[in-house]
């Protein structure tokens, strides 16, 4: 904790007003609180994946410098969870992405505007369905 | 620096070496180990007695009684293993070990005969007598071992 300074020793004037926080139009989100580890649902309300990490990038460039506007390029899921927990970063070609343009709403869950079938992120689910579960009798029928 | 690291290491090594060397068993601890095995055997024989009584009075099905006695046989073999692998610390403990082994073997025979009877071979009275005798013997031995262990 910094020691308490005398009024005369403070580096700012007493009556200085702090600048107003910018209030852009639209929804303001905290990426860590509202996006990371949130369940993603597709347009039919079916679970797609949990957001394990975010891919950030400046529009039109692959490298970032100090004041560039950073945009969320995609939601990431899958093996990137391991690097999120233990550190490091997988190469760009190994990331399983959900493009940001597919996101329609962010609330307690992240809603997408596309069907899960079209997303790369769900390839394991489709593979297990087609090659394991689908081959067991009764797998494609409703329960009960 | 080396000395401060070496000392705890040497102490640890000494403690471990002490644990590894021979049997520091006292007669009381031997009696305790044998007593636990004899208790196990008593439990098995009493279970068999109860199961035999239930079969005699037609209160239990043959399947349940057979399973119960089968489980008792397993318990007796565990007890027998515990007794026979004990390394006695002296002549008294050796004598107890021999007696315990004898008692557990007698119990195993009685329980095996009970199982035969449950499956239709043998007569109820002999089986009952053998089980009662074995239970009594194990109980006496158990009491003596308990007194020796507390001494």
């Amino acid at each position: 904790m910094s020691p308490r300074l005398r009024r005369s020793a403070r580096p700012f004037p007493d009556d200085e007003a702090l600048p107003e926080a910018p209030r852009p139009a639209g929804l303001v989100l905290d990426a860590r609180l509202h996006l990371l580890d949130r369940q993603t649902l597709d347009v039919d309300g079916r679970p797609v994946a949990t957001v394990d990490d975010l891919e950030l990038g400046a529009p039109g460039s692959t490298s970032l410098s100090g004041d560039d506007t950073v945009l969320v390029a995609a939601l990431l899921s899958g093996p990137v969870l391991a690097t999120r927990v233990f550190g490091g970063r997988p190469p760009s070609s190994r990331l399983h992405r959900i493009d940001w343009r597919h996101v329609t709403d962010v609330g307690t869950t992240v809603r997408l505007g596309v069907h899960g079938e079209e997303l790369d992120v769900l390839w394991v689910e489709r593979w297990v369905r087609d090659h394991v579960i689908g081959r067991i009798p009764g797998g494609r029928h409703d329960p009960g | 620096m080396l000395r401060t690291r070496a000392l705890p290491a040497l102490v640890a090594l000494g403690v471990l070496a002490g644990c590894a060397v021979g049997s520091s068993a006292t007669p009381a601890s031997d009696a305790g180990t044998l007593g636990a095995a004899v208790d196990e055997a008593t439990s098995a024989v009493e279970t068999t007695r109860l199961a035999a009584r239930l079969l005699r009075t037609d209160r239990a099905s043959a399947a349940v009684v057979d399973t119960t006695i089968d489980d008792s046989v397993h318990v007796l073999s565990d007890a027998s293993f515990a007794v026979s692998t004990l390394v006695p610390g002296g002549p008294r403990a050796a004598a107890w070990r021999d007696e315990a082994l004898d008692a557990v073997n007698e119990a195993t025979v009685a329980v095996a005969r009970a199982r035969d009877w449950a499956n239709g071979v043998g007569d109820a009275a002999t089986v009952r007598a053998a089980l009662d005798e074995s239970a009594q013997r194990l109980d006496d031995l158990g009491t003596r071992l308990e007194r020796a262990a507390d001494a």
Binding site: T50, R140, P143 | L54, R59, T67, T68, V75
Partner: protein, 409 residues
């Protein structure tokens, strides 16, 4: 009338679904060695499970999300991941014990060795998980499990010395032939058997499966607050039967066959048949719940599609997890390991894992973002905090006591 039947069904299912192989074995072992001097632990455990099951059901009904989904959102992937690993492994251990219990009960009915029943039991569990509707599965196993009330009936038929039993229960002392360390070890085991961690994940995910809303909170509260205590009474009845019949004969319970002997003594072949049906139903129900729990926790952590209300093709990884779990459990059992020993370990490790399971639920139940106005009241929070301390103490003491007592021997 229909509503009354629905309420009754809910309560009866809760009673019948309370007991599993862990409760059966631990209560019988405790009864045969300590009499009723550990009955107070059952009471403490029942209050605890009522508290946390009710909380997790409320979370699911109000927020529409299952507890484990929210745990990851609130605690982050590292803490939730540690929680998942521990819960999943202990779940698998419990599943192994339950399937073993089914096989042992079928051995009692048929005299066929358990190793031959294990694949049959595992296949039956998988088939129900694969095809049966959630509510039918719950109701059938719950109602059939209710037949375990025969333990209470048997206790009455044995004409026990009620005064002596009451003294043992209300003024607990450590029996002379047992040590203090063993007493507390079995207290923790009994606590872990009553407050099974999988129950809470199953309860909240089950609430989503049955599409509970805020209106259903009342019904679920009734089920839990009436059903679970009755289940606790049955637990104590099992211990009392063992205390009355087995303790005087110096029989130490180490197999399922010994657990049913008091019932046979009291009620003959009919009671024996009823109790075997009850044990098969209770262990089958618990096996279903644990395998579903393993699927729920893994799927909810990773965000997979899950639920028995979906066809398996639409929840492929969820079903694959459960298949793998059942196969692993079967593999372990086929090595001829004693299911009773597995059960005894599973209840102690359940006690060790309890803080990991219950602390997140407490945090989530207090979060207004998910719960709105239905957050925990002050009274609930006060009791929950007391329980958190108890759970932490039990969890920390479990492993040292296990080492000191040699797992209770």
């Amino acid at each position: 009338m229909k509503r009354l039947l629905g309420v009754a069904l809910g309560i009866l299912t809760a009673i019948g679904g309370f007991l599993d192989i862990g409760d059966l074995v631990t209560n019988a072992v405790v009864g045969s060695r300590f009499g009723l001097s550990l009955a107070w632990v059952v009471a403490v455990g029942v209050v605890g499970i009522c508290l946390f099951a009710q909380m997790s059901g409320r979370v699911a009904a109000v927020s529409g999300r299952a507890t484990f989904e929210i745990i990851r959102e609130r605690l982050g992937p590292r803490a939730a991941g540690a929680n998942l690993t521990a819960s999943f492994l202990i779940n698998l251990l419990t599943l192994t014990a339950e399937i073993g219990g089914i096989a042992l009960a079928l051995q009692l009915a048929s005299s066929v060795e358990p190793r031959l029943w294990i694949p049959v039991a595992a296949l039956a569990v998988w088939l129900v998980v694969w095809r049966a509707k959630f509510s039918i599965m719950e109701n059938v196993t719950g109602l059939l499990g209710l037949t375990l009330v025969v333990f209470a009936v048997a206790l009455f038929l044995l004409h026990p010395p009620w005064g002596e039993l009451a003294t043992q229960a209300l003024q607990p002392t450590v029996p002379s032939q047992e040590g203090h360390a063993s007493y507390w070890y079995y207290a923790i085991a009994l606590f872990g058997a009553a407050m099974t961690p999988y129950e809470v994940f199953f309860f909240s995910s089950g609430a989503i499966e049955e599409r509970w809303t805020v209106k259903d909170i009342g019904q679920s509260r009734l089920n839990v607050l009436v059903g679970f205590p009755f289940g606790g009474v049955l637990s104590v009845a099992i211990a009392a039967c063992a205390a009355v019949v087995l303790l005087p004969r110096h029989v130490e319970v180490s197999s399922l066959s010994q657990i049913v002997l008091p019932v046979a003594l009291a009620g003959g072949k009919l009671a024996l048949a009823v109790v075997i049906v009850g044990i098969v139903a209770a262990t089958m129900g618990a096996a279903l719940e644990t395998s579903l729990s393993s699927g729920y926790t893994l799927a909810q952590f990773f965000g997979w599609s899950w639920g028995k209300f979906r066809r398996p093709a639409q929840a492929a990884r969820f079903h694959l997890t459960m298949i793998v779990g059942i196969v692993v459990a079967t593999g372990v059992l086929m090595t001829s390991v004693d299911p009773i020993k597995v059960t005894e370990f599973s209840v102690v490790f359940s006690a060790v894992a309890l803080p990991l399971t219950y602390l997140p639920i407490l945090l989530v139940a207090n979060d207004p973002e998910y719960m709105g106005e239905h957050v925990n009241g002050r009274a609930t929070n006060a009791v929950a905090l007391v329980y958190l301390v108890v759970i932490l103490a039990a969890s920390l003491a479990a492993i040292p006591l296990m080492i000191v007592t040699g797992a209770g021997s």
